[in-house]
Structures are given as structure tokens and as C-alpha cells.
């Protein structure tokens, strides 16, 4: 199976600022690849480089086997892109938006009509054909944006924070759509802030300060040595007044991280201090847990911050 997307020691500098530093990864065809990282960490820059909009300073990448440095024009025709801004013309109707993007991708006549019907059926937006895009709710705008982004049957689709500011029902509907399309062989590269979205992805990459810090399936990440430092345990402390005692838990010797998770506290604790901790919190139930993605990324981020100081 050939890779749909590869990045090979991809480095992008703007003057003295390194936006992307030596990033390598590969995404298989039909995969949904999640890309996480704080704002300004280089996610959008990587997408732009892979779509041929930015020349890599060093290294390179391929889309569907084509070199991004040489085949930018060809790549654009076979790649779809949707950003959190959606890129819709609000004074144009749903139909006109779809028609415009079909034209832009060079699809005309019967083929355009056929594709239009297909994306309409897929996104379920056919009831709003004559409505102006500006009058749609956030969720429907997002579906329209997706319809426009896949009008030319792209084999690879980049979604740059597609669910920012969308209600949970619409988010789930979008993910259902992505799974259906990926079942048909479409590759998705999705950046997001939401950990639960990342957990839906087949594989996840975490970028922090221009560096790709971790990459793998959720299970692989949970097993990372860096995410589970030696002689520590990830625990859940169930107690009646979690938020009230959080500060005091953080001050206990051997507690490296502690944060609130619903009614309980998640903490990373040195194993030799476990007994002392239990003694300090007699009324709490303490059990070991597998780290969540958030736990992993927070641990990794702290580790980088410590080593760079």
C-alpha cells in the first residue's frame, strides 16, 4: 500500500523563525490522520507546504506519490481543503457555492451535475439549495464547506480545525461523514484542538513548537516511554471535593502532574510515594488508569519545556 501523504524531514523557515522543524511522517490511503497542537505550532504551515503553496526550506513531501515541490498544480486538483473559516460566499446560495467550486476545479456540464447530486446526498444539504450560505447554521455551513471541498472527488482531504465552534451534534455528524468517505478510500488529514476528536482518528500526531513530538495510534501513544516516565503511575483520585483539594494534592511530594477530570483528579505520581499519598487522602478511592491522549500530550509538553529550559 502506497502512502497518500508523506513528509520527509520537512523544514520551513520564515527568516530566522523556524515554523516547521524536521517533521517526518506518512499517512496511508484511506486513513484518518489526526494532527494536534496548540495554535501557532505549525499545523497550517505543514498543510500549506503539502498542498504546494509554500516551498519547503529543507526536506520535502509527497501527495499520492507526487513531489510537492514539482507537482503543485497537479496536487491541487486532487486534494481537497476545508478550513475553520469554511471559505463560503455568504451572499451566494448553497447551490451557487457548490457550482462555483465545481467550476474552479474544472468540472462542467453533466459531470458537474452528477457530482453535485452526489455531494448533496452525502451531506444531506439538498433541502437548502436556494438558501444563502450566510443564513445557514454553523453545522450546515460546515457541511456545505465539506461538500465544496470534495466536489472534485479528491483522494486526499485536509481539514484545518473543521469543528471549531460547532455544536456537538453537528460535530458527530461530520465525523460520521468522514468515516463514510474514508471507507470509500479517501484519506483525511485533520487538525484539531479536541482530544475526543483526536481519539477517533486512526493515528495521531502531536506537534509542539514546530516539532513533531509524538506520532502513532492512540494505543501506541499510551505505551510511549516518555508518556509514562519510569517509576511513575497514572492514577485517578475519586473524592467528594476534588476541586477543593487539587492544590494540596499538587503540593504532595512525588506528585508530578495533577488536574481535574470531572469529579476526580488525574495525577502522575512517583510509585515510591504512592503509599504516602494514600495515607494523606484516606477517604479517597485511588486507582491506576491508562493515560488519556490529553494526559500524554501534557506530559510530553512538560518534558519538552523542562528540557528546553
Amino acid at each position: 500500500m502506497t502512502a497518500a501523504i508523506t513528509a520527509d524531514h520537512l523544514t520551513i523557515r520564515f527568516g530566522s523563525f523556524t515554523a516547521v522543524n524536521d517533521v517526518s511522517f506518512s499517512v496511508d490511503k484511506g486513513e484518518i490522520f489526526g494532527f494536534l497542537g496548540p495554535n501557532g505550532s505549525g499545523k497550517t504551515t505543514i498543510i500549506k507546504a503539502l498542498c504546494g503553496l509554500l516551498r519547503p526550506t529543507e526536506g520535502g513531501g509527497t501527495i499520492l506519490g507526487m513531489d510537492v515541490r514539482q507537482h503543485a498544480a497537479e496536487i491541487k486538483c486532487r486534494v481537497g481543503y476545508m478550513s475553520q473559516k469554511f471559505g463560503l460566499y455568504e451572499d451566494l446560495t448553497v447551490e451557487e457555492n457548490i457550482g462555483f467550486y465545481a467550476g474552479v476545479y474544472g468540472i462542467h456540464g453533466e459531470k458537474a451535475e452528477q457530482r453535485k447530486q452526489e455531494v448533496l446526498a452525502l451531506t444531506g444539504i439538498e433541502h437548502y439549495l436556494k438558501r444563502r450560505a450566510g443564513q445557514l447554521s454553523g453545522g450546515w455551513k460546515q457541511r456545505l464547506a465539506l461538500a465544496c471541498a470534495i466536489i472534485h472527488s479528491p483522494e486526499v482531504v485536509f481539514l484545518d480545525e473543521p469543528t471549531a465552534g460547532i455544536d456537538p451534534v453537528a460535530r458527530r455528524a461530520l465525523w460520521d461523514l468522514l468515516f463514510r468517505l474514508s471507507g470509500q478510500g479517501v484519506t483525511f488529514f485533520v487538525t484539531t484542538h479536541y482530544m475526543d476528536e483526536a481519539e477517533r482518528c486512526g493515528r495521531v500526531g502531536y506537534i509542539y513548537m514546530s516539532n513533531l513530538v509524538a506520532i502513532g495510534t492512540v494505543a501506541e501513544l499510551q505505551g510511549l516511554p516518555d508518556a509514562n516516565p519510569p517509576d511513575t503511575a497514572r492514577i485517578q483520585i475519586k473524592t467528594a471535593n476534588a476541586s477543593a483539594i487539587l492544590d494540596s494534592v499538587r503540593k504532595i511530594a512525588g506528585v508530578r502532574e495533577a488536574t481535574i477530570f470531572g469529579q476526580s483528579i488525574h495525577a502522575l505520581v512517583e510509585t515510591r510515594q504512592m503509599e504516602a499519598l494514600r495515607a494523606r487522602l484516606p477517604e479517597a478511592t485511588i486507582e491506576t488508569i491508562t493515560p488519556s491522549l490529553e494526559d500524554i500530550f501534557v506530559t510530553l509538553t512538560y518534558k519538552i519545556m523542562e528540557s528546553s529550559q
Binding site: F14, L53, R55, C77, K85, D91, V104
Partner: protein, 371 residues
Amino acid sequence: MKRLFRGLIPVCRKEALHIVRDPGTLFFALLIPMLQLFLFGFAIDTNIRQIATVVMDESQTQASRSLLQRFAASDVFALRGYVQSQDEMYAAIRSGRARVGIRIPYDYARHVLDGSTASVLVLVDGSDSTVAAQAVSTSTGVALQQSLAQILPEGNLPIDVRPSVLYNPSTRSANFFVPGLVGILLQVMTILLIALSLVRERERGTLEQLTMTPVAPLGLMVGKMIPYGVLAFLELCAILAVMRIVFQVPIHGNVFLLLALSLPFLLTVLGIGLLISTKARTQAEAFQLAMGTILPSIFLSGYIFLIENMPPVFQVISRIIPTTYYIRILRGIILRGAGLGDVWLDGLVLTAMGSAAILLAARQFVNQREG
């Protein structure tokens, strides 16, 4: 070739939809220049007539009244009243009630009769230089005529100059200003419309989306230029019609030649609008930049001030302002009946400027996308 302009047709169609959907833009585009045309067309009159004048006639004789009559007959001076002292005359000018004061001394008639020189004081308010110049030259002329009439009571004058003003025989200001105004209004409207249209896309994020599609920079830019170009062309026709019908400015040359030679100017201003849109991040910024192009085109293009009278530096600057060439074309064809043989060079310069502006804008656009 096809790849160079990729996306032109869908962009063009979409832009036309924007124009139709947004009545505000249409209103702004068509009505505002028309209003300005009426405003400026009626307000600007550089022919100086009926300057308010006060008189201090100490002589009170037939000779002095005959002189005053000649002043009044010139149509340049309007005698608005008499004053009793020179102080009162100064006060009238200082307060703005009068711009000119004429003082005829008590011994005027005696000097005129005995052949010695009679002096008449003409005070002129210099705060408006054109009014002052007109008052000074006309009063000198009046004195000269009166003197000649005195010396040669019934004789013929040895020299008689008969000026014949070509192309604008009645020297109407409207004939001079309105054709130039056509160019200025067309420029303002076109630059603003196209620059705002592209910057709006940048603000709303649709431009980012477009850069991810196979649309070529020239396809996007030319695709946007066509609908706005058509709009500007229709406006040009409307403005010319108003000029002809309302302001009664005759078009001596060929209207179709004028319309044809307007195309390179439209190309240029559209190109400038696109250049502005590559620089401006927000619509407000684009608006300011567009306004910034207007002042030089008003003052340095020959629209108001004669280029020949400018300091050499400004003469050079006026040559790089596209409006200069278009105003030459407008005045040439409308007022002087110029043919293609007279104005082809101006058209060529505009074509070159327009193409350069568009290519530069497309280049800027590509560079920016990478940065």
C-alpha cells in the same frame, strides 16, 4: 495559456452574482459618481464675473461716471455701492463684502480735461489669486480703453486684436472641467470596487480557500476585472450622457473612439485596484490607499492645474499618473475633435501601464501567498 487564466470563467460568474446580490455596491457604484458629477459640474466655474465692487467717487462728475460705467459694462465688476472714505473701502474688502474698491479722486475730471494724467486707485483683494488677476487685468484694460477714447475721440485704432477661441468659443468652464471629471470619477469608483472586492475575500477567508484550488492568480484577477470593468464601462456611458445632455458639453470627436480608448484606462485603474488589494489587509486600509491615489490624480494630472506651469519634478510625476493620459484623451476627443492619429500614443501608454499593473499585482499575489 489556458492554465495561465485557469478559473477565470467561474470567478467572473461568481463576481457578477456578488454585484447583483449586493444592491449597496450597485448603488454606490452607479449613483455616487453621478451625484458628484452634478455637484462638481455645477459648482465649478472658473470664469470670473460680477466681482463685488465698492466705489468712492470724490469727483462726482460726468467723466467719473463715464469711467464707472465702463467698469460696470465689462461684466467683471459689479458695482455694489458707494463708500465715503478710504477706511470704509478697506473695511468693506476686509469683511468680504467687496473684493474690489475703486477710488476716483476729486481732481479726476480736471486732469482728464487738461490732458495731464489722472490717477484712479483700484484696491484688489488678493486672497483669491484668480479673482485678483482678473480684476487687475480688466481694470487696466478699462483704463486703457477710456484713455484711447479720450485721445482719439472718433479715430480708428491702429491695431485691433480679434481673439477667436477655438473649440470652446464661449469659454465655458463646464466644457473644460466636466470631461476631466469623467476620468476622475471613473477612477475613484473602479479602484475602490475592485480593491474592496478582493480584500473582502481576504478578510472572510475565501481567498485562502481559493489559493488551495487550481485557480491561477491571473484567472482570479482577470475574472474579477471583467464584471467590474463592465460596470465601470456602463457608468462611463451614463456619465458621458449626463455630460452631453445636462451640461451641454458638445462631443466634437468620435464617441466610439472615446469609448474604445477608455478601455485601456479602465484596465489601468482595475490593475491599480488589484495592486492596492495585494497590499491592504482590511477593507478600511484598502479604502485609504484608494483615496490616496485620488489627490495626485486631481492635482497633478492637468485636471485642474496646467502641467506646463508645474515645477519640473511635478511635471515628471504627472507623466507617471495614468489619469494624465486619459484626461488628454477625453479633452482631445470631446473638446477638440481629436482623432486616433492625435491620441493613439496616450492610449498606448495606458495599455502598457495597465498590463504592467495587472502583472505586478498577480506577481505580488503569488509572492504573498508564499510568505
